[in-house]
């Protein structure tokens, strides 16, 4: 490993399929300084502590003049190309600290009601059945393109209140913005230019949609946010909507794809889920530990922070390597074993602290409906390549394709 730090190796796409041995190496130093001055936190005890430490900020918005790629795909995607106003003063709440974070997030949570989220279960099942139906007669599918990709974006459109006739366009934007996440740190000019255009388009579109929602509010999140009297301004509203689209999309694609991959690698668990669908909740939590959709997040130290025998200095970027902490043997006995019956599974698959995944309840529903339906309906299914090809992104890590051989599709 001469010349390249462990974290550099993690960023190397060649290690995307199985970064876990590297994570085990990293865990030998719970909080490890990298050559570029970032600090990587990879053990569960330290991560669980720092993720709720108020000396750690999410407000890592770089000065536009001195912009550099942060290795933080959503930052790189959202912060760089958005219109100046959003960039300067209205970043989405994932990149903000309290009190702004709490206010914006609180407004979203008020619309993201349990009734509304649970109401999406039926819709999710309907889309799932439709997508699986289209696999009839095929002997080869790509789970990512044929299933994992289209499902979450349709669900999020429905929830946000994007009219059905605009959904295709929304799919396109989501795909473009998601593709832009792939070239981790190495995004070429062309992709960046495309994304700027894409963001401008989606922002314009959303502005129009918000206007319509104000005139004629419907039962959806965008309407609720738009007519909330103590609500957010249009910039925050657009930033929030794009955040919900992008952050809620790619992650769910990964969760479903990683889920199916894991169930095919350990067929006894797929078999068990088919026979006992009631184990889905704990199986999905174990999946979030074992193959989390987001492997790391970047934060900033606001002051010197003593931890694990070292001091993270003020202004140092701090990388929370969630996926490594999830495999920490000090917290999870036999951590490389996929075990849905694992007791006290306090995984960090949805993060933690103030920024705990807003969409977690929706992701759980989507994963549950999708995985149960897939194991029940796909007959004689097997992996045709293992490991599958991965997208280059090291943070939002997931297969680009998951090619499966099928013998048939069972009726609903």
């Amino acid at each position: 490993m001469s010349g390249s730090t462990l974290f550099d190796q993690i960023l190397d796409p060649a290690n995307r399929a199985n970064p876990y041995p590297l994570y085990a190496e990293l865990r030998k130093i719970p909080v490890a300084r990298q050559e570029d001055g970032t600090y990587v936190v990879s053990t569960h005890a330290e991560l669980a502590r720092l993720i709720s430490d108020p000396r750690i900020s999410s407000d890592d918005l770089p000065d536009p003049q001195k912009f550099r790629w942060t290795g933080h795909p959503v930052t790189d995607l959202l912060v760089r190309p958005v219109r100046a106003e959003i960039r300067k003063r209205h970043p989405p709440f994932i990149f903000r600290d309290p009190p702004d974070h709490d206010r914006l997030r609180g407004q979203v949570m008020r619309c993201f009601t349990p009734e509304r989220v649970r109401g999406m279960r039926a819709k999710t099942q309907e889309i799932t059945d439709d997508l699986i139906g289209k696999m009839r007669g095929k002997t080869q599918i790509d789970l990512v393109d044929d299933f994992s990709y289209p499902l979450p974006v349709t669900v999020i459109c429905e929830l946000l209140g994007v009219p059905a006739e605009d959904e295709a366009q929304f799919h396109g934007w989501a795909t473009q913005l998601a593709t832009a996440l792939e070239p981790n740190r190495r995004s070429d000019e062309e992709t960046r230019a495309k994304n700027e255009v894409c963001f401008t388009e989606i922002a314009d579109y959303l502005q129009g949609l918000i206007k319509e929602k104000r005139k004629d509010p419907q039962d959806d999140i965008l309407s609720d946010l738009a007519i909330d009297r103590e609500g957010m301004n249009d910039f925050d509203l657009i930033a929030t909507a794009v955040l919900l689209l992008v952050a809620g999309h790619e992650t769910t694609v990964n969760l479903i794809t990683n889920g199916m991959l894991t169930l095919l690698r350990f067929p006894e668990h797929g078999e068990r889920l088919r026979a006992e669908p009631e184990i889905a909740p704990r199986l999905i939590e174990e999946l979030l530990r074992y193959e989390p959709p987001v492997h790391y997040r970047t934060r900033l130290a606001l002051t010197d922070i003593p931890v694990a025998g070292i001091t993270i200095p003020k202004d140092a970027p701090v990388i929370f390597l969630l996926a490594a902490a999830n495999r920490d043997p000090l917290r999870f006995p036999d951590p490389d074993r996929f075990d849905p019956d694992r007791p006290d599974n306090r995984h960090l698959g949805f993060g933690g602290g103030l920024h705990y995944c807003v969409g977690a309840p929706l992701a759980r529903i989507e994963a549950e409906v999708a995985l149960i339906s897939l194991v029940r309906r796909l007959k004689g299914v097997s992996l045709t390549e293992d490991p599958p090809p991965y997208r280059p992104g090291a943070s939002l890590r997931g297969p680009r394709h998951l090619r499966l051989a099928l013998e048939g599709v069972a009726e609903e």
């Binding site: 502590r49 108020p54 000396r55 750690i56 009190p99 606001l302 002051t303 103030l354």
Partner: protein, 420 residues
């Protein structure tokens, strides 16, 4: 190495007793396990009693979950009456004798009764500690009441006041001290909660005490305050503290008094002569133990979290064999209260604190974390609707971090150290 126990008796079948039973089984104890409870109920949870149970939300049955394979023998409605240390036997009210190899004393506390027995006997005068108390008081609150008078400036008083306001019942809350909740939260935070209570319509009277009660036909009709004011009321709740259930230990040779049952750092009960009583342990509200976070000052902590944690420590030590394998009880006291829509959480002990700093949020927002210092060290932190910051402060308290503990943090006002 002492011989492993074959028969364990737990006196006190509430949160601590049940937690100990679970911990013993989880740690592989396969012998005979008996829980003795004075009340006629299975172990139940008390915190909801002053809140959702009184309010009538959900079920009033707060029976604690019990592992289906706990394999414990429960003896309910059967107070222990005597302990024979030499013979290693517990005697119960019905005369039965329970021999033990290890004994856990977790008899807890009871509500301090209203000091005037004639007044306490009036219909409409309540205390609140047990499930039966909550059931009676809850039923009374549902009969269109004129006004509830609450006596006591602690959390139970405030929680019941909050519940009464939720039910739209007029409430007068009488607090003897100049500031409510000061013992736990200090005057500043206590004052803030008092302010919130007033805004929610509680008639809060500070430095106010009852001179006497008036009744008619055996029913409470009014209270006369020390300043002469007469308040008409048909319901009074005396939330004036607790008494430890240690009387049954009289003559046993254990060091027990109103302050609790004295135990050592390993939850082992001590005799009056200061020696360890072999095989006898204590946990929960009744135990008085050396707190490592306060230079081993003796403390009895009447909180839910301590009851569970201490029961688990005691259970581990009961099975540990000799003292070298025992672990010390180093729980950092913590508790929560829900009232007037706010969640108040505290870690550490504020007693003796000489400094306070708001480290997140503000009094104005009613959403804040306040840290407490004592002699330059951080000893406690209170959160109002800010629970997610609390773990960081908990770690600082454990480490006895300098005060104020965490500076240059997110959502932090300019830190101003003030008197608590």
């Amino acid at each position: 190495m002492t011989t492993p126990p074959e028969r364990i008796v737990v006196v006190g079948a509430s949160l601590a007793g049940l937690a100990a039973a679970h911990a013993l089984r989880e740690r592989g104890f396969a012998g005979r396990l008996t829980l003795v409870g004075a009340e006629p109920h299975r172990p139940y949870d008390r915190p909801p009693l002053s809140k959702q149970v009184l309010r009538g939300l959900y079920s009033a049955d707060t029976t604690l979950p019990c592992h289906p394979e706990l394999r414990a023998e429960f003896r309910f409605g059967q107070p222990a009456t005597r302990l024979d240390l030499a013979g290693r036997v517990v005697e119960c009210e019905d005369g039965s004798r329970l021999p033990y190899d290890r004994l856990l004393i977790a008899t807890g506390t009871r509500a301090r009764p209203w000091p005037n027995p004639a007044e306490a006997a009036l219909a409409g005068v309540f205390t609140l500690r047990d499930r039966d108390d909550a059931e009676r008081l809850g039923a009374h609150l549902r009969t269109k009441l004129q006004r509830v008078v609450l006596v006591g400036g602690g959390f139970i008083g405030f929680e019941v006041a909050s519940t009464c306001r939720d039910l739209d019942i007029p409430v007068t809350l009488l607090v003897r001290d100049a500031v409510p909740l000061a013992a736990a939260l200090g005057p500043r935070l206590g004052g803030l909660i008092g302010e919130v209570a007033r805004e929610k319509g509680v008639d809060l009277r500070l430095e106010s005490e009852i001179e006497r009660m008036e009744g008619a036909g055996g029913r409470l009709t009014a209270v006369i305050l020390k300043d002469g004011e007469r308040i008409e009321t048909d319901c009074l709740v005396a939330a004036i503290g607790t008494l430890r259930n240690v009387e049954w230990l009289d003559g046993s040779g254990l060091e027990a008094d109103a302050g609790g049952l004295r135990c050592d750092a390993f939850c082992r009960a001590l005799r009056a002569d200061g020696r360890v009583a072999e095989g006898v342990f204590a946990a929960g509200d009744v135990a008085r133990w050396p707190n490592p976070h306060d230079d081993d000052a003796l403390v009895a902590v009447e909180h839910w979290g301590n009851a569970r944690a201490q029961a688990e420590t005691a259970a581990a030590n009961m099975l540990a064999g000799d003292a070298s394998a025992m672990r010390r009880h180093d729980h950092l006291p913590d508790f929560w209260s829900q009232q007037f829509g706010l969640t108040i959480k505290l870690v550490g002990l504020t007693e003796g604190a000489d400094a306070l700093a708001v480290v997140h949020g503000s009094f104005k927002e009613r959403r804040l974390v306040a840290a407490f210092g004592k002699g330059g060290r951080t000893v406690a932190a209170a959160a109002i609707d800010s629970a997610r910051w609390l773990p960081a402060y908990k770690a600082a308290i454990r480490e006895r971090a300098p005060f104020p503990p965490i500076e240059n943090a997110v959502d932090q006002p300019r830190i101003r150290v003030q008197e608590p």
